[in-house]
Amino acid sequence: MGGTYVVSLRNITKRYGASEAVNNINLEIRDGQFVVLVGTSGCGKTTTLKMINRLIEPTSGQILIAGKDIRTVNPVELRKNIGYVIQQVGLFPNMTILENVETVPKLLKWPKEKYRRKALELLEMAGLPSDVYAEKYPSELSGGQQQRIGVLRALAGDPPLVLMDEPFGALDPITRDSLQDEVKKLHKDLKKTFVFVTHDMSEAVKMADVIVFMDQGSIVQIAPPEEILEHPANDFVRSFIGMHTASDSNRLSVADVMRANPATVTRDRRTLECISLMNAKGIDSLIVTDENGALEGIITIEAIRRSGKPGATIDSLIQKPAGTVAVTGSAKEAFDTLTATQAEYLVVVDEGNRVAGIITRTGMVKSMAQALWGGDSQ
């Protein structure tokens, strides 16, 4: 597709009532670039993306695509020529895989032969043989396969520009990894312009030609990945990189290796509920906290089975956890405690004794391997 296809955002602001989601953004995207907008949730990256295909209209400012102000283009026409991939995929459940992929070319009124051929081509290219997959329905595919189709659907109309909004956020790390590779390859082969939104810094570093780092509605830094890693513009960028990428094994902290948001219950919950919750999550114990999230103990499925009464609360069954560790501690400290206590897991607490996470044996091993040999974040 070559040429001078460019996306320009000039003084773009988006206000919702009194608050500003996007604050005076200026950005120039060159033809064929892979641009990643990265930042914490609420920084305005998704809002910015959605202004490019006019799903959201800016409060002020101008967006040009290929030199044309997009306000002069019919939004429906605009979107037919921009690929759009979202996190929850959104494949139409009433259509087969083939019909889903063919949607945009049909909207563009391509002749049947052309769109049929293109769709089959894309399926083959993605390693999904059409004789197996064409007539299947989205509900019959796994999450990863669905998102693959989602990407194909976005490419089927041969758009010069593709927007992706945290497309791999809902997938497991292994699938995410392979899909990232596939998209990178597609970018190299098809030479289209990609604008990609994510909150995962290592994903940004892996995928981008240029990273646009955003915070609270403004652009903090625009630079290629290596430059951002070596010369972060400020402390916030620096800490973001630290939190979301594998860090030096010497400086590995408990926060780096723990799993946040473990399953917790309060002591007034009943035995049956707890069993059900544990079964649903595939675990054999729950952490008990008070209303403020402070640690009170743990409850195991063994204890309930042994002495629990149906309909009663778990109050009388709470045990002390085998081990705890402070969130500010080092990973080495946690490792030592794990081996010393022979516990299955340690509860991580902060200064107020509130539960911050857990460290499991397997989780520990994974984090150490990653720190030693690299790889994507857990």
Partner: protein, 216 residues
Amino acid sequence: MSFLEYLQTDWQAVMNALLVHVQMSLLSTLFAVLIAVPAGILLTRHEKAAKIVLAVAGVVQTIPGLVMLGIGLLIFGLGMLPSVIVLIAYGVLPILQNTYTGIREVDRLYTEAARGIGMTNRQVLTKVELPIALPAIVAGIRLSVVYIISWATLAALIGAGGLGDLIWTGLSCYDTNMILAGAIPASLLAILAGFLIDLVQKAVTPRGMKTKKGEE
């Protein structure tokens, strides 16, 4: 004489009644669908109106069929036309409710994805919302068809004819054969219609979307 003998001699009357009944039911259903489905779609675009309309519909549905027919009689007089009007008016309600609910329950994810890839509002409706809501709409139509056939039997009381006529005359004269001559075909008709629409519902549910039969 026995029922079978009765059928042999008076089958013409039964066939005529059946024909009238089918005509009434078919006509009413057709118009009910033509009115209710677009109305239901319209309601999904106007939240506030929808709440009021559906609340009123809920109350109206508690009015027994016989009463509605009586009201039809008082307003429009005797005959088939008043009956058909009442049948249509009543038959619209379940279809309206199901169309509205069916479309509203289409996950916003799909309509947003559809809009994001460049469909116009009308295309979103025809390519995504309606196909996904179709099984629910057909379920509503099934309800209406069964109700309509049932009320059509009552409509005999206001002069519409049909199988209800046979039942009613049979009741007045204590003629068991006549009652059966009306009741059995009416029952079979309703069961057959329900069965056919179930087939239609299976046919319009894409394989990827088979859902369980839910609560009422």
